[in-house]
Amino acid sequence: MISQFVILSPRGNNLILRNFRNDIKEDTSDIIFRKLNFEKISDFPPVFHENGINYAFIKYSELIFFVTSRFNISSSFLFDFLDSILTSIKDFCGVFNEQTVIDNFGLIYELVDEMIDYGAPQLTETKNLKKFIFNETKLDAQELKNLKSNKKAKKKSKKSISSDAKKTPISGVFAGGGFQTVEEIYIDIIEKLHVEFSNNGSLISSQCNGLVMIKNFLSGNPILEIGLNENIKIGSPKDFQYFQGIFLEDVLFYHKCDSSKFEESGVLQIIPPEGEFILMKYRVSETSMNLPFQIATNFEEFGQNKLEIRVTITSDFEKAMWASNVQISFLVPEISLDVKCELEGNDITQTAKFQKQDHLVVWKLPRFNGEREESVRVTLTLPLQKKNYPKQINAFQETISTNTQLTSANTLQLIKGKIGPICLSFDFPDYSVLKMKTLKTTDQNRSYVPTRWIREFSKSDSYFSWV
């Protein structure tokens, strides 16, 4: 049972505070603000208890959302509630920031009250909630302008524009408040790659988590039929030895989705709820994954105190495709006296820099085409070696100590140990394991063709190689 729900501003005052059960004092926001301020918020476990009160929080766009409870209740329910309140505020208000919360607090109180009664969960879906909400969305003039210009921009460039669907407030669209009724549907297939290479370039682990997200702004109750890849099996490759298609290790579907034909033909049927929802989440089996990039590192010593690191990235996909915002970064030892970065090849769009305060080398490539190899040379100048005896030499020690002098191979090993993993981050449009093949909308009452925005997209979650 949830006792309180609070939205806290970055300065520590309550923007929204709703007490459902009156069994906890209202000073909880002070407690959470103090606690989270002392420690770095992202390092702090998201649930904790203090003085018999349980707290769960999330952070979104500088605001802290949290709930308190006195019960031993389902922990994931707390986060699901926080998430869905955030989603509904986004659905109703279009954008989300501190100002929207302040402007629309009446609406948010209404929403919260419909979603939770006496600490127990009630309605969640935007569609159901709409019946009970009477406040109108308020947007300031600037936001309205943005919204309209966004609409125009979308028409022009169809490809790879970020889906701004969330910027269309539901109540605005359907109350006819200044907008025309738009029949739009956005489907995003987003896949996050986690890949780990060992220092000799062999694969240690790889994982690909994907989701199909739909933002639905269709009126009426159309039936949506989505066709994905046809050759899909759910399960482990071990169980189906002769199958050649894509293996999904595990799949979760939206609870109202009809997935009976999925394994047979890749077709999903659903009457979509309004607003944003996740149609399915899946995990691609390791054998069905493609790795877009390979990372290789070479070390070479120069003179007494110079070490050259050569990082080479090879792209392994069709020539016509390209990944954007590629960034390679790694830590170098703090003791380095000087760090020089040198690009191979003469592509002027690339940059490679050493950020001194973080001891970080950052190499950026705005665009990385297929079937290419790019590399960077980083030269470290290290302090000259001394015999590194501890200050306080202990005479007794000699008798049992073995030879302490370091050999040169040992030094390289030592320095290598202090170079962080080579991390790669990128956005990759049109690159995904699951693809959208067909999309049909059928409405019994009328026939129309809605505007459809489809995006397939891969992103690095953590893509790195040990050194």
Binding site: N14, V47, N54, S75, S76, F79, Q397, L414
Partner: protein, 740 residues
């Protein structure tokens, strides 16, 4: 002054708006009031004006006024009665929304006068034809029960709720169940139990229930005890599809239910088969947001402790990613150690080795500890693990000190097997500056003094700075020198005298002084006997000591998906104050702490018998607060205890020694005479720093003072181990009707 006058001006401005006949103005006014209320300002002065706005057809205003009422009605009970009429009228409105709104708000106003008028409309609403009203009314019964249980029972609302469980609308079902479960919790005898028929009903509602409702229905189903194996199988088959749900709350609740049901299935193979079905969904949860991943990891940890093999093929997903937040990395490490086996040890060690090169101190230390725990867990692979540790020392990673600490653990598990490392470790001797690392190193020297030729010289170098050292280190120097003396008497006699003198004469720490005296006495008695006592074989540590006790683990597994499973604590240990605050007014629990202390003092005066207990515990608490806390406190405590006991027994015996601070002589002679258990106790005492790290977080507290003796006050307490700190957890209950 200035600020208060502006606030008054502000309030006045709002007041005019509230009194304005135009709806728009009124709305502005009410909004302003709620805004101030949210910021924590007192707007109770506007009560009458806000109340007058209630008579309106504008739902927006109405909702805002209700929010205001829920907060302020209890401060103005006599005025609140005036709104009752409007409420009752609203509950008969033709719009179901207004009906539900009125009943919802009325239930949340905890004013007796209002509650009295609640019953009649509530009865009607429970039988309303609109499901939205029914589901709101169902929860309202729980609200009523919380304020006035007798009334709720005498009006037959509980029976109404039970009827609603078989309602046609799933939302109503889930709310009715939620309300009943809550009422059950506050009663000793449950008002409602799930029988076979309800279970079938719930399973049917499950299919159509909205997401959250489904999670709550699953929770209540786990209270149902299936009659036989077949029934359990049938239910689990109905639950299995829920595992593929998008909502993590439903997935985790289903996991708990399935684990619960698997216990009732007779065919072991089927049960195991069922349990393995929970693995893929849990793994998929790991692809979620960090918060959910954290919950999943904590739960997986428990499941692995019970069924170690089911996750063995999924080890890769627990490898740390460099961008994981630290709290996730630490959890993953825990799980990796749990999953370590002879098969995957090489892969794991490679990971751990990489982790120990990272930047975050906490993470690196834990990774090093993970390596040593693997060595302790897997006897065959201990050698490889130790080689990795040696490698780390050679690479001069940042936290060599941690390596020293963990190697000590390995020595305890495999005594006299890996002495060859000692040489390497002592090279790093001068760089050690952390107390724990120093103490560990000194322990190793003491324990292996026979093999180390210059042990006495090494220890002498520590003795030089004896006074500046931390207590842990001092105690360890003392113990190690005693061990050295017993093994090589002529080399270290002088040192021993020096250390005994230092610790008994110039140190104020009673812990150190007492231990020195005890050694002194033991050594001055029979030499053979003393080496028997001091150099006894120590109990070995095992990896199992990092696990939960079976009973605690089972309790935690019953709580999968609940907060309890995330904290890894049984519910009673963190929900302690719930009952207290229920009896009290909200404003009072601020003073709880002071009250506790006062009461303790009072108690001491009244009841000298219990004095010892309390003083000791306070003592200990202080110490652990002082951050002076290692396992030493344990021994310290035992120490004192023993002294106290023996003092009573042997008061009249003669003493013929010059050190007559306590009747120590007797203690020692006593201890020597006593049985083998005492013997091991002693050796544990001296090595208490290295005592098995038992995790006893989750035991229920023990009764220290019962309410009959304490005139209504009950004290429960337990020593707990949290990371490396010893904590005394006290719970004080008031069993009388009077307030503290």
């Amino acid at each position: 002054m200035f600020s208060s006058s502006t606030q008054k001006g502000e309030l006045f401005e709002i007041q005019t708006k509230l009194q304005d006949p135009k709806t728009e103005k009124k709305k502005e006014g009410v909004k302003k009031v709620i805004e101030l209320m949210t910021l924590g300002k007192d707007v109770s002065a506007l009560f009458t004006d806000v109340m007058n706005c209630m008579h309106t057809t504008d739902i927006e205003i109405k909702k805002l006024v209700y929010i205001y009422l829920m907060k302020y009605a209890k401060y103005k009970p006599d005025l609140a009665i005036l709104v009752v009429n409007t409420f009752v009228q609203d509950t008969q409105d033709e719009n179901p929304l207004i009906r539900a709104l009125a009943i919802r708000t009325m239930g949340s106003i905890r004013v007796e006068n209002v509650i009295d008028h609640l019953c009649q409309p509530l009865g009607l609403c429970l039988k309303d034809h609109d499901p939205y009203v029914r589901k709101t009314a169902a929860l309202c019964v729980a609200k009523l029960y919380d304020t006035n249980p007798e009334l709720a029972e005498s009006r037959g609302f509980i029976q109404n709720l039970i009827d609603l469980v078989s309602d046609s609308n799933p939302m109503v079902v889930s709310n009715a169940i939620t309300a009943l479960m809550e009422i059950n919790q506050s009663k000793k005898e449950p008002v409602f139990q799930i029988d076979k028929k309800t279970a079938v009903n719930l399973l049917n509602a499950l299919r159509q229930a909205p997401e959250w409702g489904a999670a709550f229905i699953l929770d209540s189903l786990s209270k149902y005890v299936p009659k036989n194996s077949k029934q359990a199988t049938t239910i689990s088959e109905r639950i299995l599809p829920r595992l593929n749900h998008n909502n993590s709350a439903i997935v985790l609740s289903s996991v708990r239910l399935i684990l619960h049901l698997s216990g009732f299935i007779e065919n072991k193979a089927n049960a195991v088969n069922l349990i393995t079905k929970v693995v893929p969904p849990l793994v998929t949860l790991m692809g979620n947001k960090n918060e959910i991943r954290y919950l999943a990891l904590r739960n997986i940890n428990l499941i692995i402790q019970k069924w170690p093999s089911i996750f063995s093929h999924e080890i890769q997903i627990f490898f740390c990613r460099y961008n994981d937040p630290i709290y996730i990395k630490l959890e993953k490490l825990e799980i990796l150690v749990l999953l370590a086996s002879e098969k995957n040890i090489n892969q794991l060690l490679h990971e751990f080795q990489e982790y120990s090169m990272e930047v975050d101190e906490q993470f690196v230390r834990k990774s090093i500890r993970a390596i040593s725990r693997c060595a302790i867990k897997l006897e065959k692979s201990a050698e490889i693990c130790i080689n990795v540790l040696i490698d780390l020392v050679k690479k001069k990673i940042n936290f060599v000190q941690e390596v020293v600490v963990v190697i000590k653990d390995i020595f305890r598990k495999y005594p006299s097997r890996y002495e060859k490392i000692i040489g390497l470790l002592s090279q790093n001797l001068p760089t050690l500056d952390e107390p724990e690392a120093k103490a560990s190193m000194i322990w190793i020297i003491g324990e292996y003094s026979e093999q180390i030729d210059n042990a006495h010289e090494l220890l002498a170098s520590f003795l030089a700075s004896f006074k500046e050292e931390n207590t842990d280190v001092q105690l360890q120097i003392l113990s190690s020198l005693v061990k050295l003396f017993l093994r090589k008497p002529h080399e270290s006699e002088e040192l021993l005298q020096q250390v005994l003198k230092l610790s008994t004469e110039s140190e104020n720490n009673p812990d150190l002084r007492d231990r020195a005296f005890i050694y002194w006495r033991i050594l001055s008695s029979d030499a053979d006997l003393s080496s028997k006592i001091i150099l006894t074989e120590k109990p070995k540590i095992t990896e199992k000591s990092f696990h939960f006790e079976p009973s605690v683990l089972d309790e935690l597994l019953r709580n999968i998906s609940f907060l309890s499973s995330v904290y890894h604590k049984v519910p009673t240990s963190f929900l302690n104050s719930y009952q207290i605050t229920q009896n009290h007014e909200e404003d009072e629990f601020e003073d709880e702490n002071e009250d506790e202390n006062e009461d303790e003092n009072e108690k001491e005066e009244k009841n000298p018998k219990n004095k010892k207990n309390i003083i000791k515990s306070e003592n200990n608490q202080e110490k652990s607060n002082n951050n002076n806390n290692n396992n030493n406190n344990n021994s310290n405590n035992n120490n004192e205890d023993m002294i106290v006991l023996n003092e009573n027994e042997n008061e009249n015996q003669n003493e013929n020694d010059d050190m007559s601070l306590f009747s120590l002589n007797d203690i020692i002679s006593n201890t020597v005479k006593k049985t083998q258990t005492q013997n091991t106790f002693n050796s544990q005492l001296q090595d208490s720093i290295f005592e098995t790290p038992v995790i006893i977080n989750n035991e229920p507290r023990k009764l220290l003072l019962n309410s009959a003796q304490g005139k209504g006050m009950e004290i429960l307490g337990l020593f707990k181990r949290k990371n490396d700190d010893i904590i005394l957890d006290l719970e004080i209950k008031n069993q009388t009707n009077q307030k503290f």
